[in-house]
Symmetry: C2
Amino acid sequence: KPYVIVVCHQKGGVAKTTTVSALGAFLAASEHPTLLIDLDPSANLTAGLGLIRQVKKSAADGLLGKEPLANLHQPTGIPGLDIIPSGPDISAAYQLMATRPQSETVLRNSLEQQELPHEFVIIDCPPAMAAITTASLAAADLAIIPTQCEYFAIQAIGSTFNYIRQVRSEYNPQLSYKVLVTMFDLRGKLHIQLYEKLQEYYGEALFDTIIGFDSKLRSSQIAGQPISVFASKTRAAEQYRNLAQEIVAYVHKR
Amino acid sequence: KPYVIVVCHQKGGVAKTTTVSALGAFLAASEHPTLLIDLDPSANLTAGLGLIRQVKKSAADGLLGKEPLANLHQPTGIPGLDIIPSGPDISAAYQLMATRPQSETVLRNSLEQQELPHEFVIIDCPPAMAAITTASLAAADLAIIPTQCEYFAIQAIGSTFNYIRQVRSEYNPQLSYKVLVTMFDLRGKLHIQLYEKLQEYYGEALFDTIIGFDSKLRSSQIAGQPISVFASKTRAAEQYRNLAQEIVAYVHKR
Ligand SMILES: Nc1ncnc2c1ncn2[C@@H]1O[C@H](COP(=O)(O)OP(=O)(O)OP(=O)(O)O)[C@@H](O)[C@H]1O
Ligand SMILES: Nc1ncnc2c1ncn2[C@@H]1O[C@H](COP(=O)(O)OP(=O)(O)OP(=O)(O)O)[C@@H](O)[C@H]1O
Ligand SMILES: [Mg+2]
Ligand SMILES: [Mg+2]
């Protein structure tokens, strides 16, 4: 069974999608076959990998259990990296899930019961602690909460943690979670002060790797390529490569 | 009846909350009494105005029609600026709305039927085109869609526009909408290129005012003050002041 990572945060624009794409690409590049699942109606992950016009089947059918996950994934063009993309029917699936009591464990059951050739699964969530995120957390081994060192993002960590703990106690006692600092701006005194606060509050729950501000990440998304292909030597590429190593080490320790 | 502005976008982290706070503060400062409504479960708007521990009644009761809006607002401490804050019960209201067919027009009916002393109402929405945003759009005269000049944010404008047009044809034929460029980074070649693309695609629908990157906006949020109080001479303060004037002129032309 693959190791399932969910990237989620109630706060918008904290680099959830950017992290899923980069982490997936570097895990694949270091011989860990990875499956990405785009559960966001905005389909940013799918678009940032240049696949928005090549969506064969969408993740919606996986969320509702209509099709086995093994039938839904397609290659990204990057060796070792597959994706179940988001499609226009994700919003409808989301509405449907709100009316069906057991829908929140369908994704977990599919991931447990099916044979997938991947070592890692990474799920991109929309910025809402609601049905899609619940279903992902119920299925996960690890939740990664990316955050900027900014007041609004940090304020939302508390409610994001409460939500994760609720899902953990209700569905998934094995679930662990860690915070990843992203979009870190070394020139900003504020970012440095808030980073120290984060370390103080969340100490052990913070990844060692910090992702700094790097505009190449934005250009790679327009180019439709992960940063590992578009600009593998840029600073954020190095940092995401280190994050992949930090996560592999973390997984092997458990 | 107040002129109702909704600030919404499916994309996260595009300065929806920052815009509601700054625009509200500058409208109030230029003699246009304004009521802010925080409909986001994250309650960032409420926190950024220093009110997170002083919430008396929450917007949830307004969304469900349980209490008249006139009973729900409280002062912000800024002359001419009131707020109906977000509270922990907003998420529950949101779930309830999903099960009640007529709930999407409750907010509009309250705004139409009640006597409010304000000239403007500005509503902050969560980053999701779902029940809360629908209820706000059904009640609105103008929807403002803030966007960064970045690929993912621009990609989401299309689906945000489709959603707005759907609500317009179903509930609110008078609804108009405009795009506001925010967090503009003059040093980024990419931002300049994408701004030109935006002008090409959306021409008339773009505000003339552009909000540039300004870290004072972040500091004002930690201080719990709108930018008009915290740093009224900083460049983003000037730009938001101009936006308030542009909007007042736009409203008077109709
Ligand atoms: N380290 C970084 N440096 C510079 N820009 C970044 C960085 N990480 C992400 N970005 C940019 O910031 C924007 C927000 O990132 P992203 O879309 O990944 O966040 P998100 O949390 O997935 O947003 P949403 O909540 O809308 O899903 C994107 O335009 C992205 O290109
Ligand atoms: N012009 C700007 N310059 C610098 N930072 C900004 C600017 N506008 C907003 N920010 C910062 O960017 C972050 C995102 O802004 P904000 O929270 O207002 O976006 P949002 O669209 O409301 O996010 P969400 O989708 O989570 O509700 C905040 O930390 C804010 O302080
Ligand atoms: Mg995203
Ligand atoms: Mg907001």
